[in-house]
């Protein structure tokens, strides 16, 4: 496999890891909005 192809594949892998991390972070960051309400209801 050419070095260039390997690098491109590595880029796809890194982008996928970043996108998964972004999904995880974004989901929890948005959901955190409801925390004051949950706290209020405790």
């Amino acid at each position: 496999m050419k070095r260039e192809t390997a690098l491109q594949l590595l880029l796809v892998g890194a982008a996928a890891v970043a996108a998964l991390a972004a999904t995880h972070f974004f989901f929890h960051w948005v959901l955190f909005t409801e925390l004051p309400v949950r706290r209020m209801m405790f």
């Binding site: 590595l10 890194a14 996928a16 996108a19 909005t33 706290r39």
Partner: protein, 453 residues
């Protein structure tokens, strides 16, 4: 603080977002109309930075709104101030998130279009660069982004209709709304979590196929690619670290919501018991061996207690109309209180026409949260009794018992067991007896002596 459309620093956020979108449009038009060499990549990088700046502005606005909501929780003063702070904080967050998603998606669309123009234009060697297949992975974020937009709408809409819902059911409605909205959002996030690896595999296949093709397009330099790989991995690490505390807070379930009305006063400490009856909105009478109180205010003597209770009932009936009055006084009493003293409290209550007081027991519940730390609440429950004069006569001294209940209510108390305060030395054994009787399904009538004139 500036508010626009409910957003904190709204004017600044809208200004930054509008400038960023306008910048993308200008860059896109420039890239599309370029005849000779393609637009330098630096221009697209700058346009991308403008989008990142918008995201940062949204983040700052959301966090400021979040701080307002949390501040509202710590206010123990005016209940309306508390409520308004909570509402401002919630609306601020929801609006910023929804506005942010909409404008960032719009700006990114223009940014990609501009970039597509530039990448499709041939360079000096006659080859065009084309989009790196890795960009496909970004499409996998669409479900979670849509999920967040839908979540903010799902949560906000029922809040607007809360006025139409009876006060006692609002907590249930809010909780159910948040649970349903969260379930939808979780589903969207899971969809992204599946879509991203699938798209990555598709991108990898494309790369391998292109590598086999002799007329492959020009790829970015090794240095650029290596820098992108490092950047993505660093970004991923940062987001995982940042998500850890908030995800542990979000994922830890809350205990069931407290039932019944919240007490405005929590002292004195009561016997360590639980009763089956719920606290309703009612005056809170506090009694201990040396102090008397009503709704948290000190009361000098039993005559004053009667006066205040009587005034509260009259006021309540004036405001709400007669039939809704629940006959309840919440009694918070120290277990060491002599029964003779409590007897005087009950005399004041019955004279003021609180026929069905609730002997109330408070229990502290402590939980530990990952971010919020140690939280404590007082759970209140009680035993509701009926008060009657020991001579069997009503308040006016007539032979018939004081009973303006409807038939159903009267049947409930028909077989009630009578208890006399004089048979107990202090409140503690009396309270335990009450709980035992109620636990056995029995209702209790407390028979007290008629006050001397």
């Amino acid at each position: 603080m500036l508010f626009l459309g409910g957003m904190v620093y709204g004017e600044i956020v809208v200004g930054v977002a509008a400038a960023a979108v306008a910048f993308q449009i200008v860059v896109m038009v420039m890239a599309g109309r370029r005849r000779a060499a393609p637009l330098p990549m630096k221009v697209h990088a700058a346009a991308g930075a403008a989008i990142a700046l918008t995201a940062a502005a949204i983040g700052v606005s959301t966090h400021a709104a979040r701080a307002i909501a949390f501040d509202a929780l710590s206010v123990r003063g005016h209940p309306l101030g508390n409520y308004l702070g909570m509402l401002t904080g919630l609306v601020g967050q929801m609006t910023a998130i929804a506005f942010g998603i909409a404008t960032i998606v719009l700006a990114l669309t223009f940014w990609f279009a501009g970039l597509a123009f530039t990448l499709s234009k041939p360079l000096a060697d006659g080859q065009a660069r084309g989009f790196p297949p890795a960009a496909l992975v970004g499409v996998g974020l669409l479900p979670v982004v849509y999920g967040a937009l839908r979540w903010s709408r799902d949560v906000v809409v029922p809040f607007n209709t809360l006025e139409d819902i009876p006060e006692g059911q609002r907590g249930d409605v809010i909780e159910r709304t948040m649970d349903v909205a969260r379930a939808h959002f979780e589903h969207a996030a899971r969809l992204s979590m599946v879509a991203i690896p699938v798209l990555a595999i598709v991108a990898a296949i494309l790369i391998v196929l292109r590598a086999r093709n002799a007329a492959a397009r020009r790829a970015p330099s090794h240095r650029t690619t290596a820098a992108l790989v490092a950047g993505f991995l660093a970004l991923a690490a940062l987001m995982f670290v940042e998500a850890r505390p908030i995800s542990s807070e979000n994922d830890l379930p809350w205990p069931p919501r407290a039932v019944g009305h919240r007490l405005p006063a929590l002292d004195p400490p009561t016997p360590d018991l639980s009763g089956p009856d719920q606290v309703e909105w009612a005056p809170v009478v506090q009694a201990s061996p040396d102090r008397l109180g009503l709704d948290g205010a000190e009361i000098p003597d039993f005559a004053t207690l009667y006066d205040r209770l009587d005034l509260l009932r009259v006021n309540y009936k004036t405001i709400h109309g007669g039939p809704d009055f629940n006959d309840m006084a919440v009694i918070l009493a120290d277990p060491r209180t002599p029964m003779a003293r409590l007897h005087s409290v009950l005399q004041a209550a019955l004279k003021a026409e609180y026929h069905k007081p609730l002997f109330t027991f408070t229990k502290a519940e402590v939980i530990q949260r990952p971010i919020l730390g140690r939280l404590q609440r007082m759970n209140a429950s009680g035993v509701r009794v009926k008060l009657a004069y020991a001579d069997g006569k009503n308040a006016y001294g007539d032979a018939a018992e004081e009973d303006d209940d409807d038939e159903k209510e009267a049947a409930l108390w028909k077989d009630a067991v009578p208890l006399r305060p004089g048979d107990f030395a202090t409140y503690d054994p009396f309270a335990r007896r009450l709980v035992d009787l109620r636990a056995a399904g029995t209702r209790v009538v407390v028979r007290i002596d008629r006050p001397r004139r």
